[in-house]
Symmetry: C2
Subunit: 263 residues, 2 copies
C-alpha cells in the first residue's frame, strides 16, 4: 500500500482503469479528496440536486457531471467515472443487482454523475491536528446510525438522516467543531453531540452500518451527517437504475483536501 | 422608515402584500436576511440549479420552492412570492416586459422560485464590526462590474462573473476576508483584490451597474462575486418568461443574518 499512498491521483485512476489496482481506496493518494459516487438517470437529477441543496450537510455535492459525460471535468480532468473506481454497485428498482469492476456495459447517455464529499477529508484534518479518530485507531469502519431527523423532502426524495459517530474527549470537542466547520463540502460541523436518544439512536453500541467503537470514560459521542444518507434516500425511490461506488472504494480526485477548507 | 426597520418580517411581508409598503426594502426589518428572487419555468430549473452548484459564489442559493408553490417554506413560512415583494420585473424572451407591484396575473403552475443570497447580510456583519462600507457611507448603490472571469457553464446557462466592489483600508482587509468567509450563503469571501485590470475591469470609476464610489489613498478595491451574475446569465438565455425582484426591492425572510454564518 505504501506505493499507492504516494501515487498521484491521475496515476491511481489510470491503474484502477487498467485493473492494476483492485483494492479499496483507503489511504490511497494521501492528501487528496476522495468522494462518493451516485449515478442516476437524468429524469431524477433535478430532484436529487434539489435534495442536495436542501440537505447540504447530508449530501454535500462536490461536482455534477454534464448529462452523458463520464468525466468530472473540474475535480478530475481526464477521468472516466465508468472505469476509475475499483468496485461499483449497480441497483435496479432499489435492489442490489451486483458489484462490478467497471460499469461500461451499463452506461447510458442520460446518466448524470454526482460526486459527494466524504468524511475522509475532515478526518485527515483532525488527524493532522492530533485529534484521535477512534475507528481509525481501532482499524474499523466508522459507526453509522439511522436517526429520527428527517431530511428536507425534495420531489421524490425523502427519508431519515444517517449520521456517523466519533467519540471525543471533551477537551477535543471545540477544535473538532472548528476544523469540521471549515469543510462544508464534506458534511461540515457536527449535527449533534451527547445523548444518542435525542436523535433517535436507541443503542449506541449497535450501529445500523459500519462497526461499533469504544466510547471511553470522559468522552462524548459526536455525530456528523453521513454520505450514506443520499444513497439510502435514493434507494427508497427505487429508481429503475442507480449506480454507486462500493463502500470504501471511492472516486479519487486531483484536488487536495486542504483546498476544500473554507477558511 | 424607522417603523419598517423594526417590523418583524412576516408583518412586513403582510404590509407589502396589502400594498401598504411600496418602498424599496433597504434597512427594513433590521437584522433579517433579504434575498434576490429569480423565478423560472421548470424546464430551466435543473440547469439553473446546476449553474448555482457550479458557481456557488456568484449564485448562492438560499432556498428553492417546490414547483408551483408560491411559498419559501423554510426561510419564510406563510410567504407568497407572487405578492410579498414591493416591485417585480417581468422579462419575456430576455427583454424587460415591465415592472409590477405583484405577479399574480403572471403566475404559472410550472414556476420554480429561487431565493439567492444578497450582500446586505455580509455588509451588515462588516458594519457591526466597525468596517466602513463605502457605498453605504456615500448613500449610493454598490458599484458592480462585468469581469472576464467566466462562470462555469451549466446546460444553457453561461456568461461572465459580475462583481461588486468595496474599497477598504489595508488594515481592514484581513477582518473583511474573515467575516465574509463565514457567509458562503451570501457570496462568501472576496474573489479578487487589487488591480482591477487583472479581472478585466478597465475603468474602476465607470461601473457597469450601480454607482461609482471614492477609493481613498491607502485603500485597495476588494471584489466579491455579485448576485447580478445569475440574473444576467439567465437573461442571456432569453427564457420565454423570467421574473425577478426589482433592484433594491428584495424578499424579506424570517431568518436572522447571523444564522447564515457558518462559524
Amino acid at each position: 500500500m505504501e506505493n499507492f499512498r504516494n501515487l498521484n491521483p491521475s496515476q491511481a485512476r489510470q491503474m484502477i482503469r487498467e485493473g492494476k489496482i483492485k483494492s479499496n481506496t483507503a489511504g490511497m493518494c494521501h492528501g487528496y479528496v476522495q468522494g462518493n459516487l451516485v449515478i442516476l438517470p437524468k429524469e431524477h437529477a433535478y430532484d436529487f440536486l434539489l435534495f442536495a441543496q436542501r440537505n447540504p450537510k447530508q449530501c454535500p455535492i462536490l461536482e455534477v457531471s454534464d448529462m452523458g459525460s463520464r468525466e468530472f471535468m473540474k475535480m478530475a480532468p481526464g477521468s472516466d467515472v465508468s472505469t476509475d473506481i475499483p468496485k461499483y454497485r449497480v441497483y435496479k428498482n432499489g435492489e442490489l443487482h451486483g458489484e462490478f469492476d467497471d460499469i461500461k456495459s451499463f452506461w447510458r447517455d442520460d446518466f448524470v454523475s454526482f460526486l459527494i464529499g466524504c468524511s475522509f477529508t475532515f478526518e485527515s484534518a483532525m488527524l493532522d491536528e492530533g485529534i484521535e479518530v477512534r475507528h481509525i485507531s481501532e482499524g474499523k469502519n466508522v459507526p453509522m446510525y439511522i436517526t429520527d431527523i428527517q431530511c428536507e423532502k425534495a420531489g421524490i426524495f425523502e427519508g431519515p438522516t444517517v449520521v456517523s459517530m466519533r467519540p471525543l474527549p471533551y477537551a477535543d470537542v471545540v477544535r473538532a467543531v472548528q476544523i469540521t466547520s471549515r469543510y462544508p463540502g464534506v458534511h461540515g460541523a457536527p449535527i449533534h453531540m451527547g445523548d444518542p436518544l435525542e436523535i433517535g439512536i436507541g443503542d449506541i453500541n449497535n450501529p445500523d452500518f459500519g462497526d461499533s467503537v469504544e466510547i471511553k470514560d470522559g468522552e462524548v459521542p459526536v455525530f456528523w451527517a453521513c454520505g450514506v444518507t443520499p444513497q439510502a434516500v435514493a434507494m427508497n425511490v427505487k429508481p429503475e437504475i442507480m449506480i454507486t461506488h462500493a463502500p470504501g472504494y471511492m472516486f479519487i480526485t486531483d484536488v487536495k483536501n486542504q483546498k476544500l477548507s473554507l477558511l
